[in-house]
Amino acid sequence: MKLVNAVYVPLDRSDAAKAVIPIASALADALGATLCFVHAMEHAGAADDLLEYLQLQRKQLHHAILEPLEGEPAEMISKTIAEHPRSMVVMPVRSGENAGSAGLGPVSLQVLKNARCPVVLVPHGGEWENWKPMRMLLPQDSTAACAAAVAPAAEIADHSKASLTLLHVPSYSGKPFSPEQGALPLPRYQDHQPQHALVAWREEFIERLREMGHVTENTKLKLILGMNDPADEILAWDKKLAPDLIVLPWYGDFEHASVLKKVLLETRSPVMVIPIAEHAKDEKAA
């Protein structure tokens, strides 16, 4: 069963919006999904020839569907993807100059807040023409829910023969264990020596993620331990590795999403934000 059936790209007349098309196209190709360009207008028929209106070239429309939506853009995009749960959105962090929280434009911010599917946010000003998802950075916080969320990225990696670098970032502060059932926090220097505990933990962490995130054995996995603040670690490894994509599972509370906000604000890499399923969040909260 396909995890993603459609990759939606909200378009307006800006260059920033159209700049993400190669990324969306590559992702749709990797996922075997349909590429859907959507343009939301307040009034239907405002543009007779949408292609011309959006200043799209025919080749950009290759194998894609172009669909006009009537209504306020953020609301209509959110509504469309909500109606198609096996979807993904690819959009710029912002398409205009108007940057709000975490550098997000108003539409991107609203779509992200409402989305229950992966949203790929592409930073402004990058060169994406020949973009391929070959190296991905996956921050992980020990929880089973976070591991399970990476399945769409795993499918992309499998198709693209990409390498995945897992970055373990600490998620607990002073608590001996993460409250989520099935979490796999860092070893606590148990039983004899760390040369055993850490090695065993690293092996287990990778294999559990492989199982839970459906990462095939064809995909290479590497694990890095982040020792400091999660956002700082992600940004530091972003600089070192220059990944094609950061895959960031997210618990959905934007107001308190300090890691997500900081990463979106400072990274130069596209970020796939994957909302963690509601039931998994409930378990974590419990």
């Binding site: 089973a144 600490p170 070893p187 040369q195 505990a197 090695v199 065993a200 092996e203 287990e204 294999e207």
Partner: protein, 912 residues
């Protein structure tokens, strides 16, 4: 006594041929003054001479756990010198028969028939005897696999789902077979065997014969992994050591299939593994395909924790009756493992269907395709034999011969032998607690884990930190075995205890090398030991940031050397096995004492001997000096070696042998005296307000305490990367002084123990699974009932609830041993001395009675303890001295019982 050097194979006698291989270990055969006994796999072992019949019965039969009433002596008039003078065995039955061979043959036949009695069709119904886990959850699967391992001490197979395999690669580990991992830290690691438990069940699509022929074997879509489960659980039946799987599966077309079956590692024949499933199509008739696989390697990616075989070969894979599939793993270092399997499908009307063979992707399988009828039962039986290069130079050949021979007999025969064996073990090991079924189950699980980890038939292997339940710790052997597991075996299965100590004896050569390499004399047991006894602790590890971190435990955690010696003595203390003490035991004691004599350093300023640059049980503090635990254990080791040497040379029975040993080791009276002098002059730990200082300077460290509610905690790994910070505090990883005051109980007053316990309790993070049980044990002895039970529960949950979060890499065998000690040495207050065995029950308030058995000086004692009453019964052959706290020791005659009741806080009185 069986001599390793004298294992020979005499010509097969008529009698030997008449008794089936799997029953032959019950046979003792005398022919022309030569006694022959048989191993569990039926191999003849020539026994030392001379021995009379009384010896056979009183010594050998007891070793084997044979009830004297079950002994039958068949003889011809005139045998045994024409007299029965030495046959002082009242309980045995004597048959004077002209043809004893024929008589025994008839009896063997009768025994074989008995094997076919009714056998279990499902797991035990009593929840206190089973561990049940529902469904499949990838987040927890690895710890469930550890928990549900079946093992016989030779091979352990994790509780992987038969249809899925393990997410962490190989699930079958072989004891004693190591291969060096070629990473930047080359160390020997336990190797894995080809997986033998995978079975695929598919309902084939309805199609024409032609279409079916075109279908490739890998394209079936209705594999059991698809669809849904209406019922799906795994049950480990501890009583029978069988892992049951029960499931009801519904495929997308609504067809329901029930599957119930088991797997086991035979305790009777350790090379044999069995798997059996019954399938029932519940609401359909259709064509089924069953594949019983031998995975060539379950994973394409290589696991760091398991060495990868350099060569994987299908030695044989042919279709037909009695044709095994044989897969062989060869490792670069020379280790080989062969797994041979034969499968039989029992279709309706007891018709046997023999398999075809398929080779698909990375596996080779027996497969069957058949028309299954609604409501009918179809049973798959698999016989699996595993042999390694430790058993034979040609393990594939041996596994083939073995599996062929095993498959000639019905599954029930092997199952009965396995069950009988476990029944015999449980007849001693079982513990009953009135009033606390959860604790009873936890103790049963501890006993199950330990018994299934051990192989008394192979004294060149020991039990690793995670036994054969997972690949963490690479199968390395630590002090866990001696200090935490051995007490259980000494009391419950002395044959296993002896075997485990013999592993240390056999690795003395490696231990001597360790000592020499480090500039010491004698034998220095490895902190981490594998097959040779040489140190295998990694010298460094790579930190997450790529930095090399030096690992000091291999260089400094030397207390293990005294721990081994201490346990060798404990074995003698409980068993009275003089042969062991005068031989291997004495050699261990002498060589370890010699090590300590070279390890200590006399300081000019105080004239005392010190042990510098050490690590004690608390590994949060490295490179310390005069660790109280290490110093006192070393002192004991030195004194005890000298005492034992002198005592054994005084005894006429042992004098000659021990003089020979001392001569071989070049130990003279001067050296013995020097050991005593050194022992007397090793510095004694400082005491402050009655608290023993853990090591020199400990009290001067930054004082930090922890909340008891945070336990078990341990330090975050990141803290370890800055070990100096942790080492500057008084926080401990685990019981250290408290451990010492348990092992050397007589050296400390109750008040000293109480003060130390209270001080260290609030500074211990329990970052080791070994810690809670010892705190619980000492709390019980100090009458801190609530604390004692809290720690006991914490220890019980290490594996059953994965409360330390790392059970996925295997069970914590030492924690299981610690739990047993917590109940017996803690709550029941059992303590041994040269004079006798005494108890002092302090049970948790809700335990109405604790019932258990222990071997004491060769006699089996049944003990019933409560806070109001203590009863001991001797079901052995000879009288022993026993007592309750404060009442003095009394002789307990065979078949007799004595009872006590408490009369004051520290005093019990005998009652009629």
């Amino acid at each position: 006594m069986v001599s390793d050097a004298k294992h020979e194979k005499p010509a097969r006698s008529r009698l030997e041929e008449m008794v089936p291989t799997h029953l032959r270990h019950r046979l003792v055969h005398q022919d022309s003054n030569e006694w022959t006994t048989y191993s569990r796999s039926g191999e003849p072992l020539v026994r030392e001479q001379p021995h009379n019949l009384t010896w056979v019965v009183t010594r050998f039969a007891r070793e084997c756990g044979i009830d004297p009433k079950e002994i039958l002596v068949a003889y011809r008039t005139g045998d045994f010198g024409g007299s029965r003078v030495d046959l002082d065995i009242k309980e045995a039955t004597f048959v004077d028969d002209g043809n004893p061979v024929a008589l025994l043959g008839a009896i063997a036949e009768h025994m074989e028939k008995g094997e076919l009695d009714a056998l279990p069709e499902g797991p035990h119904m009593d929840p206190a005897w089973v561990i049940l886990r529902e469904g499949y959850d990838p987040a927890h699967e690895l710890e469930v696999e550890s928990l549900l391992t079946v093992s016989n001490g030779y091979v352990g197979t994790r509780g992987t789902l038969f249809e899925r395999g393990s997410p962490l690669g190989p699930g079958t580990l072989v004891a004693g077979l190591f291969e060096r991992i070629k990473e930047d830290n080359p160390i020997p690691a336990l190797v894995a065997a080809p997986e033998w438990v995978r079975v695929r069940i598919s309902i084939l699509p309805e199609e024409s014969e032609e279409e079916r022929e075109e279908e490739t074997a890998s394209s079936f879509e209705n594999d059991i992994l698809g669809g849904t489960y209406q019922q799906n659980h795994r049950v480990l039946d501890m009583g029978s050591a069988m892992l049951w799987r029960e499931l009801k599966h519904q495929d997308p077309a609504g067809r329901v299939t029930s599957v119930r079956g088991f797997r086991l590692a035979s305790q009777e024949d350790r090379h044999l593994f069995l798997q059996s499933f019954t399938l029932i199509p519940e609401n359909y008739s259709g064509r089924l395909r069953v594949e019983a696989e031998a995975d060539l390697y379950p994973s394409k990616h290589k696991s760091y924790l398991n060495p990868y075989p350099s060569r994987i070969a299908i030695v044989r894979a042919r279709a037909g009756k009695g044709e095994p599939i044989i897969v062989n793993y060869s490792y670069a270092g020379g280790a080989q493992i062969s797994v041979a399997q034969i499968g039989v499908l029992n279709v309706t009307g007891n018709r046997l269907m023999h398999p075809a063979v398929s080779r698909i992707e990375n596996r080779v399988a027996n497969h069957w395709e058949f028309e299954a009828e609604l409501g009918k039962e179809y049973r798959l039986d698999r016989f699996v034999s595993i042999f390694t290069s430790r058993d034979s130079r040609k393990p594939a050949k041996q596994s083939r011969a073995h599996v062929t021979s095993m498959a000639e007999r019905p599954m029930e025969t092997h199952l009965r032998s396995h069950l009988d064996n476990w029944k015999s073990r449980w007849s001693v090991a079982n513990i009953e607690i009135e009033g606390d079924p959860a604790s009873e189950r936890a103790l049963r699980f501890a006993s199950y884990s330990l018994l299934s980890a051990a192989n008394p038939d192979d004294d060149r292997v020991s039990i690793g930190a995670r036994a054969l339940t997972g690949n963490s710790y690479f199968g390395h052997v630590f002090w866990d075995t001696e200090i935490f597991m051995l007490p259980f075996f000494i009391c419950v299965a002395p044959d296993v205890a002896r075997s485990l100590l013999m592993y240390r004896y056999h690795t003395l050569t490696g231990a001597r090398k360790n000592a020499r390499k480090n500039g010491y004399r004698g034998a220095m047991f490895a902190w981490e030991s594998a097959d040779t006894g040489e140190e295998t602790t990694p010298r460094h590890m790579t930190s997450p940031s790529g930095e090399k971190i030096r690992i000091l435990t291999g260089d400094q955690e030397h207390h293990i050397t005294a721990d081994v010696a201490y346990t060798a003595w404990q074995y003698y203390l409980y068993t009275g096995d003089r042969g062991f003490l005068a031989g291997p035991g004495a050699e261990i004691l002498m060589e370890t004492a010699r090590f300590w004599a070279s390890r200590v350093v006399r300081k000019k300023d105080d004239g005392k001997f010190h042990i510098e640059h050490a690590i004690g049980p608390d590994e949060y503090h490295e490179d310390i000096a005069d660790n109280a635990f290490t110093n006192e254990m070393a002192r004991w080791n030195l004194r005890q070696a000298a005492t034992v040497a002198r005592e054994l040379t005084r005894s006429p029975e042992t004098r000659a042998g021990v003089l020979e040993l001392l001569d071989r080791l070049r130990v003279d009276e001067k050296e013995l005296s020097s050991w005593t002098e050194i022992a007397d002059d090793i510095v004694i730990a400082k005491e402050r307000d009655g608290v023993t200082e853990q090591f020199r300077g400990y009290f001067g460290l930054e004082d930090q305490t922890v909340s008891l509610e945070r336990q078990p905690g341990g330090a975050d790994f990141r803290v370890f990367l800055d070990i100096e910070t942790l080492g500057r505090t008084q926080l401990l990883k685990q019981a250290d002084v408290v451990m010492l005051q348990y092992l050397m109980s007589d050296q400390f007053s109750m008040e000293q123990k109480r003060r130390s316990f209270e001080y260290y309790e609030t500074r211990t993070l329990h970052g080791s699974s070994l810690s809670p049980a010892i705190y619980g044990l000492m709390a019980a002895r100090l009458e801190k009932g609530e604390s004692a039970f809290r720690y006991f529960k914490m220890a019980a949950e290490v594996d059953l609830e994965n409360n330390m979060g790392n059970a996925s890499g295997g069970l914590h065998s030492a924690a299981q041993g610690g739990l047993w000690q917590g109940a017996i040495m803690g709550f029941a207050g059992m303590q041994a001395s040269l004079e006798g065995l005494s108890l002092s029950p302090k049970l948790p308030a809700h335990w109405r009675e604790l019932r258990f058995q222990v071997h004491w000086r060769g006699q089996l004692l049944l003990i019933r303890a409560s806070n109001q009453r203590l009863e001991m019964e001797n079901s052995g052959w000879e009288p022993v001295l026993v007592g309750a706290r404060g009442s003095g020791l009394r002789e307990l005659a065979p078949g007799a019982a004595r009872k006590w009741k408490p009369v004051s806080e520290n005093h019990w009185q005998e009652v009629a």
